[in-house]
Point group: D2
């Protein structure tokens, strides 16, 4: 950690600061510049609060050198983490895992049929929302427990593991019992109580990036789950909020190589929520695979214009099947299976 002091900082203030850091077990190196004095702190700075240091009126700037995350950090865990979701492995050089299904579960037969269709096209997991975060209180809020049952039934019929979103810690038991991969949605990425709660179970967690979360904040949310005891975290990029209006969000494809450099966790891309437009899903899926994604999560619906939510971004099953064929070709081109 590097701390810049104003040049005119009084000597006793500088000494007070040095003593303060030494008391925390850190070694302090001082560099005297022309207009500034600079401290370098050596040691375990993860627990040092940079905002508190910045509060000192003689401090111009504080710069962290070491990343603030440890358990997720590839530096301390060089090999890829491979997460097992009811027998499906994701991460490392495992085949790319495609999760597909409707935005919302709309009934037992409906989800069973779609599960069958996406399985035939090559999907390895079934997605479907039972508890739905909706911007409007007047919009459909999901089938909830009934929806979970429909997913379980579809899994029984197809043996596809199921992934669905948990919105509240008081439903954890239901999810641990029934769900194979528990999704934490973008809007709850910094719902820290929920992160701590899923850190205490050992089911795999699919952690979506918040709409305006930096990559570092996102990794820190993974760190919350891991620090609470659950190492089974899969990261999922679903688009960030920018000024652009032609897409619902901007898919940040560059997170793929960055996450692989900074962490050892698998990275999955959600092109459906990222773009909000089914016409863009195929191109973005192929881009994600070419860039090295470990998985995709894609919305598929038999009748998008009758979907109970987010029809605009859902693929029809035949378009999904076409996408899967192209996805395989691109995966093979970069030396991976799907």
């Amino acid at each position: 950690m590097i701390i810049t002091l104003k040049k005119n900082a009084p000597k006793h203030e500088v000494e007070k600061l040095i003593k303060q850091f030494e008391n925390q077990g850190l070694k302090v190196n001082l560099i005297t510049g022309e207009n500034y004095n600079v401290f370098g702190l050596v040691g375990d700075t993860a627990k040092v609060d940079e905002r508190r240091i910045q509060a000192n009126e003689w401090v111009e700037n504080v710069q962290r050198i070491a990343a603030p995350y440890k358990l997720a950090n590839r530096m301390f865990h060089p090999e890829d983490s491979i997460i097992d979701v009811r027998g499906i492995k994701i991460g490392g050089n495992e085949p790319i895992v495609v999760m597909a299904g409707p935005c919302s579960v709309e009934g037992k037969t409906m989800i069973e049929n779609i599960a069958q269709e996406v399985k035939e096209a090559g999907a390895k997991m079934l997605r479907g929302g039972a508890y739905k975060p909706r911007t409007s209180p007047y919009a459909f809020q999901g089938m909830q427990s009934e929806g979970i049952k429909c997913l379980v039934n579809a899994r029984n019929k197809t043996s596809l593991p199921i992934v669905t979103e948990l919105m509240s810690a008081d439903k954890i038991d239901e999810f641990v019992e029934n769900v194979d991969l528990i999704q934490i949605g973008a809007r709850n990425m910094q719902n820290f109580d929920l992160l701590k709660a899923v850190g205490k179970i050992n089911k795999p967690i699919l952690l979506k990036r918040g709409l305006s979360a930096t990559i570092e904040e996102w990794i820190m949310s993974a760190e919350y789950i891991m620090a609470s005891g659950n190492p089974n975290v899969i990261l999922c990029e679903r688009g960030i909020r920018t000024f652009e209006k032609y897409t619902r969000n901007t898919l940040d494809v560059s997170v793929i190589p960055i996450i692989k450099e900074k962490t050892h966790l698998p990275i999955v891309i959600d092109p459906s929520h990222a773009t909000g437009d089914w016409k863009l899903v195929e191109a973005m899926s192929l881009a994600a695979i070419a860039a090295g994604a470990d998985g995709l999560i894609i919305e598929v619906h038999d009748q998008p214009d009758c979907a109970w939510s987010d029809g605009a971004q859902s693929l029809k099953p035949e378009k999904f099947a076409r996408l899967m064929k192209k996805a395989k070709a691109v995966a093979n081109a970069i030396g991976r299976e799907i």
Copy 2:
């Protein structure tokens, strides 16, 4: 609601759509353009899901005319809502309410002393975090229940109502019993289960804007609380995330006149979190008052460089007192009291 169809949409598709809308009790008007056909829907469109319509492959564009919120909408509730927080009124032409105190409660004596100091300077409520949302799992997480007790003690000594953040629905009883104004933090602005939970009580709620929430999404979160039964919502702007690096966030002062135009709810500004820098707090506070804010929430700490969180943005009590004097002058200049 205005729906644009591609010019080459087959007649039976157009008729199918018209029938679909009429079945929802809407009147449909058709405008035939050169390159597009446009529908206008008249009636209660709040329940119409625009994303589902967009899923239709013949639909080019869907545009909502009426705002998606009703209970918060000034159109249907022209007079200002004035919220009563343990006898302190906020909103309308009531005096501007300043809430002040430390980022985190750090102990009984500490919060009692600061409460006394901010009261003397003219603050009307005491703020202080007991449950703290922190980006890092390794950072101080707040004194929690102990912190709530310290706040209650400070209220007993100063009679200042207290405002503090609720992070999880399972602590609601503790908050209803002890806290006067319950804050929903920026990171939980779309934690819909928490919004529904605080909608079932009738304590006033301070709803902070999410880091990248549009004004419309923010009002929709207020609508969630109101639709669940609690009309006592105060909105709080705390800066939005932009590309700028010299400030922690960008304070969006223009929300003040916008919120007053679109809704009837009071609007409070948090210049401390918005800027992240105590040196900017005074200027931003005065700007907020000049623009018509109903209140301010400001971080004050005796020793910012020893603060357990966010010292960098905390004012010392003497600087806060100076700010209050200037704030009164500006308030008077626009015809308000403080």
Copy 3:
């Protein structure tokens, strides 16, 4: 174009507006809603100024239906434009064109050597900055005319067409005489006088997207060039400015399918400027190809840590050659050549 009036708009104001539009040769349809009145305008609305209409105090909202661009619009020009750059064709189903070379031209031998190396690896054009836009007035501003001569010499030796940036209209003659593909940089995307100037020549133009330009604004800048008489426009995405800090900019891969849907122009991706980090260039290049890009423009330098500008994002020739091999595999996987 759809215009929403406030419900209480006086009748004579409504009639005045209707007359005003009819005088512009537009047909007006009126839809009366519960809380609003809505006009639909039919006819050539490209010349209607929506901001002037919005100035009317009874107008709530103005929504354009037809895109504001015509010459670039695929609706009126369904087949792909293929641009010829000194014999190299780009766009449609032509082979993907890779342009490569250093950020700045640093000397005759240097650029000649790199030209040779990138040609051997498969590049079809040579890039290199002669006039350099730099944030700091104290930074190297490019070799200027001398740099252009070095590029011409390298073309003579390798027969690679050359692409370089034009910063000011007073250098147009030099560029028309010497340069094959004239780049308009991101910072000049809305330098309208420069756009008009390059619209009057018929050399191909590589129009980079501005750092915070919407896709629509970017297409409108292409429209400026085309409306001035030059149809030879190639669009180039180079990353947009977002809140993320781990990358210099965020590469918006989704522009590829969007540009292909909305316009008939070729689209090229610049992964070097988009990411600012050579370690990310390969993954982003492959993503761009998989998503359907017509070309790439990549920075290559023999000794990046001695580069006179932007070394951090330059690939060494051997890494570029490796990228080209992978790029070919991905291109083939989606049925294209490189």
Copy 4:
């Protein structure tokens, strides 16, 4: 400047780097940490290219300590710069200067009348666009030279100095001869050739912040003008581009105290372009004054709904007069005149 090396950087690479910096006359201090080695560079680092250093594969991170600007830097020029525009002084403790007038000059009588009206209300300068940057090539491009003549005539009648935008270096003579304050528009903030050109004259320059320019980039553009020889720069904030849709841009009021801390230049606010909505202009004007702005630039038009450009953000003269009264009260409250 602080440079972080990877821990495993070979010794000869470290020594090579040290030698390289020492050859540039810099003193190098090395701090050895647990996972990183850190260099501190002491000396004149303004000319060091951080991107070149970052290109070294052993370098993890480069952090500049000293600001990259010198002439604009308050550290080296502590007293406020006061700029004289044809006798009107702006900056320091001078009275706040309000510039007002239409977006576009639309004719001799029109601009003369508005000039008279804004003067009566208290404006000290006249604004009006003659050369107009427009997103669409089909929109009105300004009266150009004819418009300049109309402005000069209005100045003759009212003795208000005139401010208008220069879009291209080839019109500089016309501007030097006729215009009192030369505006560089947001879209040209990094048109470096234009910045250099206006740096060679000594007329005052009003430099608008780019739509997505960081404060540092904006100051660097001022530095361009100053380094070319013209110290008479006034900065103008006109809103930045964010995700918010209810306003055209987001006015960043916090630049006011920041510009005053970092530089010695005057700061002017443009609430009309920032918000794009006349209903918000009054509140934002008062906010700017309360926060310490040295001036305002406001669009005023007799008939906004007939304005040839940007009517939506223009105030009618009577509303402008009302704003001026309130502005005086707020200015007085913070101890300034208007």
